[in-house]
């Protein structure tokens, strides 16, 4: 089902969900750069069109290209029974695969500022109150963690399938949240410098504080419900 509930009328090709993109390349297939569910300028003034175009068509695209190249090498190593070769590819797979997963999820959990609606009720609103106290407290806690990432990485709101709670987390570089921590990603915030340098220069806190206004909370709630269902909690 298309999870971009905040987007206005979309052509069919961009209605594909992140989940659909990320499961779309079985052995021998190629991963694709997903289309954005909005124009490059849609997230202004929080993130500029210039940043969105660079970030999507250059950075994310490079991860996709390099992931496909790494997977070809992996296929060859597996076919040849080359265990050492398989292991040697782990770094490139984590980096490029993680980059593709993270950015695909990221584009989907953003929406135009006009579409903003605070997650104060419903399943997500209740979960936020339960785990953080209120929306402002959640933002404060996650902002602090995310701003404090050393070097390149991501801040996340994640669902913990063991405890049934939601929590903030961070990962370094392109390490993907679920494979690294077991938390199911609900909302990601990219804090690699390329995500904000054009618009905010070195002032990462301004970017992180602003990005809460363009999170697509409907998508976050849909991911929460899917994660709860998958964990057998609902």
């Amino acid at each position: 089902a298309a999870a971009n509930l905040r987007s206005s009328a979309l052509p069919d090709k961009v209605a594909k969900s992140a989940a659909a993109y990320l499961s779309a390349a079985p052995s021998g297939g190629k991963h694709e750069l997903p289309d954005l569910p909005y124009d490059y300028a849609a997230l202004e003034p929080v993130v500029s069109a210039e940043t969105m175009e660079l970030h999507h068509s250059k950075h994310h695209n490079t991860y996709v290209t390099n992931l496909n190249a790494s997977l070809e090498k992996l296929d060859a190593a597996v076919s040849a029974g080359d265990v050492s070769g398989i292991i040697a590819l782990q770094g490139a797979l984590k980096f490029n695969g993680g980059g593709h997963v993270n950015h695909t999820l990221f584009w989907e959990n953003l929406a135009a500022p006009e579409a903003f609606k605070a997650p104060t009720d419903g399943a997500l609103g209740d979960m936020i109150k339960c785990c953080f106290g209120d929306f402002d407290k959640m933002k404060a806690e996650l902002s602090a963690q995310t701003i404090a990432v050393q070097g390149s990485g991501w801040g996340w709101l994640g669902y913990n399938p063991k405890t049934g709670a939601i929590e903030g987390a961070t990962c370094a570089n392109q390490d993907p949240l679920q494979a690294t921590t077991g938390l199911v990603p609900l909302a990601g915030i990219d804090v690699w410098e390329h995500a904000y340098y054009v618009d905010y220069r070195n002032v990462r806190p301004n970017y992180v504080n602003a990005i809460w206004d363009i999170i697509n909370w409907d998508v976050v709630e849909a991911r929460l419900l899917a994660a709860q269902k998958a964990a057998g909690k609902i």
Binding site: T62, F95, G151, N173, W192, H194, R201, N202
Partner: protein
């Protein structure tokens, strides 16, 4: 163990002493050239943000972490502080001290580019040039290894050319985040590695000028911007330190 093994690299990089004011705080060293001196390869805009914001913040944060800690305040150099922080597992202090050191070293590794279109290299027949040939087989191989190190640091990091004391030759390494080869040297044992050249590949180092095209930046850095005199002097001192160690 010789007496010099407990000595830090105070003699190295003499041109980059970061001064302590009366308040026992380190000062942000000025760039060794004007903000527009590296144009068009690195813009004045980049250097302004990189030096006045990023580097400055590391120095200020390090100072605030040192303040009032008499053991740290008695250390003469940033190198001592970062090695101490590393050994104590004090990640916050390490990150800020190491990044303070790394950036100062980086500014000194660069010099205004020549106006000609030729590639800048170490002087022929210099100790540095010969050591590069011996260590890598050819100058081209060194360029390949160094730029590859910079291009494949996954995330924020640094590429380094170091003198390996046990091998008595040059090696290329890369570090992640604030990492530095200085931590390969423990304060209680003989030194193993001495950095002689570094290149910053955190995105803030090149994003305004090159955007995502990191390989263009790394190639440009190595072929146009390196201060080979500085690198050559660092090598000379590294070899001296190595002789003391062995």
């Amino acid at each position: 163990m010789t007496s010099s093994s407990s000595r830090f690299l105070v003699t190295i990089l003499l041109s980059m002493t970061t001064l302590r004011g009366d308040a026992k705080q380190f000062e942000l060293p000025p760039l060794p050239y004007g903000y527009d001196a590296l144009e068009p390869m690195i813009s004045a805009n980049t250097l302004t943000y990189h030096h006045d914001k990023h580097h400055a913040k590391y120095v200020n944060t390090m100072n605030s972490m040192i303040k009032g800690q008499s053991e740290l305040e008695s250390m003469e150099t940033i190198e001592e502080i970062l090695v101490h922080a590393h050994e104590q597992g004090n990640t916050g202090l390490f990150n800020n001290a190491a990044q303070s050191w790394n950036h100062e070293f980086y500014w000194n590794c660069m010099t205004p580019p020549s106006k000609s279109s030729s590639i800048s290299e170490p002087p022929k027949n210099s100790q540095l040039s010969k050591m590069i040939q011996q260590s890598f087989g050819s100058y081209e191989e060194f360029v390949t290894q160094f730029t590859t190190a910079g291009n494949t640091a996954f995330g924020s990091g640094w590429a380094w050319l170091c003198y390996s004391i046990p091998q008595q030759k040059l090696i290329v390494t890369k570090t992640i985040g604030a990492g530095t080869p200085l931590t390969e040297n423990s304060s209680s044992k003989a030194k193993v590695v001495i950095p002689i050249l570094t290149m910053d590949v955190w995105e803030h180092a090149y994003y305004l000028d090159y955007q995502n095209a990191r390989p263009t930046y790394t190639q440009t850095f190595l072929t146009k911007l390196v201060n080979w005199d500085f690198v050559g002097r660092n090598l000379k001192e590294a070899i001296e330190v190595g002789k003391d160690e062995l």
